[in-house]
Amino acid sequence: MSWDLGISGLGRRVIGGVGRLGRATLFLARLAPALGVALARARLIVQQLYMTGVLTLVIVLVSGAFVGMILALQGYNTLVRYDAQSSLGLLVALSLTRELGPVLTALLFAGRAGSALTAEIGLMKATEQLDGMEMMAVDPLPRVVAPRFWAGWIAVPLLAMIFSAVGILGAYVVAVGDLGLDGGVFWSQMQSGVSVTNDIMGGLVKSVVFGFVVSWIAVFEGYDAKPTSEGVSRATTRTVVSSSLAILALDFIMTAFMLRGL
């Protein structure tokens, strides 16, 4: 009767998953008032912005430049068959601002900063620092969790914009320096085809949503982790896996809405 066990296993996983989603939502509802309190202590948010945002900057700058240069090479290779290489700037700018900037930045952020957030909060829990704070009548939500959540939420859109901008500059260097395209055509084609309201604001909206979701998952997994070293390591892995899946699934949904209109 092994098929029977398999079905039971599936059911257990689904129930477990729905349960986690419910706990994550309850956690967010508890976190919401703490978010307001945390805004009053901006110094803590600045501290966390340094840890999450500034330290992620290097990987975002390097990846952005490389992605832009790769897009330029690949795009040129395809466009040149149709003698349309003058549209290379437009291709690169649209790909980066609409899709790759927000998505890749959020994925990199989940791996670089989201995992660190989870591990930090999880370890605080495992070493009973959070319990200690509660003992001293200090609520850990506004003091520990909320500043990290804010910092992640603020950092992702800023990083995504930097990613796109650096990517376009990287593409410019390859297109004009290496492939011999005209610099003026590169920019003017881009300007005639990229819409600020649809493309750039659309990308910004995406990255704000991703920032929210990744930060939410990261702090929830940390707060929810089993207070053992194994529990923290599992929570860290789960942060990266669930954030990545959530980013890609949400990206598909948002792209479908944005391209078709509501």
Binding site: V46, Q47, L49, Y50, G53, V54, L57, A93, T97, A155, P157, L158, L159, M161, I162, S164, A165, V166, I168, W187, M190, Q191, S192, V194, S195, V196, D199, I200, L204
Partner: protein, 156 residues
């Protein structure tokens, strides 16, 4: 001291992010500078607008001076009514003409105005009477093919 340095880098990070957004908006996107100026609306009827779209440029002598606001169909004559928003500082004589042209062979379509010689100017809500419809490449090709076929078989 250390806290100061951290605050400085965070400030720098935020400035860099906003600068990147500004660069994307100004250098990569096309912020509509035209919105700044006041415009007046005139209409023009066309038999066929091709693939003209709202927000397409309106030009005179190749210089952009406005854009297409709306495109509707006259329920009686079945002609297309194109409403053009033109910047107020440009006045046009009442007998100006409008034609729909294509940028390049397959590029976007836009409305080109040619000024007439009348002493009276078009007012807000005025109408351009002389219009030339879009040139539709497929029609020209089919006409060319038909006339070739006609020549070949000795008719025509």
């Amino acid at each position: 001291m250390q806290a100061k340095g951290m605050e400085f880098t965070v400030g720098l990070f935020v400035v860099a992010g906003l600068l990147a957004l500004a660069m994307l908006a100004l250098k990569v996107g096309n912020i509509q500078v035209l919105n700044a100026g006041e415009t007046y609306a005139v209409t023009a009827d066309f038999n066929d607008i091709g693939s003209l779209k709202p927000k397409a440029p309106v030009t005179v002598a190749g210089v952009r001076i406005g854009r297409v606001a709306r495109i509707t169909v006259d329920p009686v004559t079945y002609r297309a009514i194109v409403t053009l928003d033109i910047l107020k500082k440009y006045r046009f004589p009442r007998d100006s003409s409008a034609s729909i042209q294509t940028a390049g062979l397959l590029g976007e379509q836009f409305v080109s105005l040619s000024p007439g010689g009348s002493r009276r100017d078009l007012k807000n809500g005025g109408k351009i009477r002389i219009t030339q419809s879009a040139i539709i490449l497929e029609k020209i090709i089919s006409q060319l093919l038909y006339s070739k076929a006609g020549h070949a078989s000795g008719h025509n």
